[in-house]
Amino acid sequence: MSDEMKKKPYVVPIGPIHPALKEPVQFLFEMEGEVVKKADFAPGQTHRGIEWMGMRRNPVQIVHLTDRICGICGVTHSLSFARAVEQIVDIEVPARADYIRVIIAELERIQSHLLWAGVAAHELGFDTLFYLAWRVREDSLDVIENITGNRINYGLVQIGGVRRDITPEQHPVIHKCLDGYRDLLGKMLNLFLHDTTISIRCKDTGKLSFEEALHLCTVGPTARASGVVKDVRVDYPYAAYGDLDITPILPSAYGGEINGDVYDRIVVRLLEIEQSIGIIETCLKEMPEGGIIWEPKLPKLLAACKKAHGEAIGRHEAPRGECTHYVAMDGNEAPAMWKVKASSYSNLHSWIPMLEGEQLADVPIIVASIDPCLSCTDRVAVVRGNSSDLLTKEDLHRLSVEKTRRIQGC
């Protein structure tokens, strides 16, 4: 390899479709040899118009639509949405329903983190670990299926509560799964964190400093791995989280310093699995008796929603970080406005500082390390004719001012 060839920067495109990407997004890398000099990315390759569909449906229908925003966070979106509507309609959720919501949300965190662990292993070329992680993930999916009736699209949350109770017969099933994970966790920690081939690839790779994590408003494990103490469950407790004793997990919990590298993100996610096991066990023990839904008669619930006016934001700490839903209702069946901000939306920008200066070989694992969920994130695709427009901050500001004027009629 002549020096000249090595030095000349060349462009390597990755995506929108590429084996390293589980969902479409486009990267452009300016390379110098094996090193990424400049990184850029373009999301918006998989916009599905879910909000558009939602604004033509009533809240009970939308709950099931929210389930399908993400294939992994089944309960995240429905919980956020339901919490927004509950605030507008002024619904008090029964305490038991709150506990069930927490249980399912934490089960979801377990399965999501295991799924991520598998993907991360695959990106490192470690398919054996990928198979192992996904195999043990099945146990949590089985329990979720047992509770909700479906593995992925749970359909458990309803406006004002949950649709199914957790019966005493289900307790042993859940406990068995959790005990299994307790035993397994030591093995998983050993396989992921003490494998030399993994640690040489992940330590000091894709670093995100504390300041960058803070400035880029990262959320969830991505933020926590860089030492930012941030967790909606703790900062703004909702559902039954207020009754529980949770501390956000930082990589230092596993000993050692906080580096904000890929390795730390593995640590945080694996330890959160353990935390979730504890939360579910507490919830099962302390779950109060009582109803599980504010209004079991759905026509009445629909009527109440139809009468409501107002706007609200529902938020939830998804496995990937904070997820928010904005809902505005104006006395119609369908909401006047519904806006989803998935957790990955806040995290995507941390890619740039993580990727620049890294080896091309580490791009897949760094990209995967924030656990991106792109179809949940893609909310806008501006296409006019054959050309797509990029709207800058100024453009967006101008457009929104114009729209407000229009609505105000001046």
């Binding site: 449906r57 009970v60 299926e145 479906n150 003490h194 494998d195 030399t196 081939t197």
Partner: protein, 133 residues
Amino acid sequence: MALPMIREIFTQLFRTPATNQFPARHLPKSVTEFLKKVGSGEARMIPPVATPPAFRGKIQYDRDGCIGCKLCLKVCPAHAIEFIPETKRVRIYVASCIFCGQCNDICPKHVLTMSDEFLLATEDRFAENQIVE
């Protein structure tokens, strides 16, 4: 250099694989032929992973109990239910149904239920088993 996985793979090597060999150990030459043979008892199908008690599978409809109130249409997120004015009964397109079970909850007569049948893949959205009425 620590390689914990090496030990794991050698223990794994001597265990039975985790794969559930549904529906047969190897892909049959023709799946339709195979299913036919299973139907006539000539071949044996390795069963899928069992479904839990309250599983939400293909929808079932008790036509006689229905009163034609159209409430199910109101909550179906997928617009999978069609009302037939002549008979005052509904028709459900399984290909559109998203198995949420919301119509089950709202039906005042409880004539809609979810079965545990889930082997519904087909190329024809309007095949006989894709329409419930």
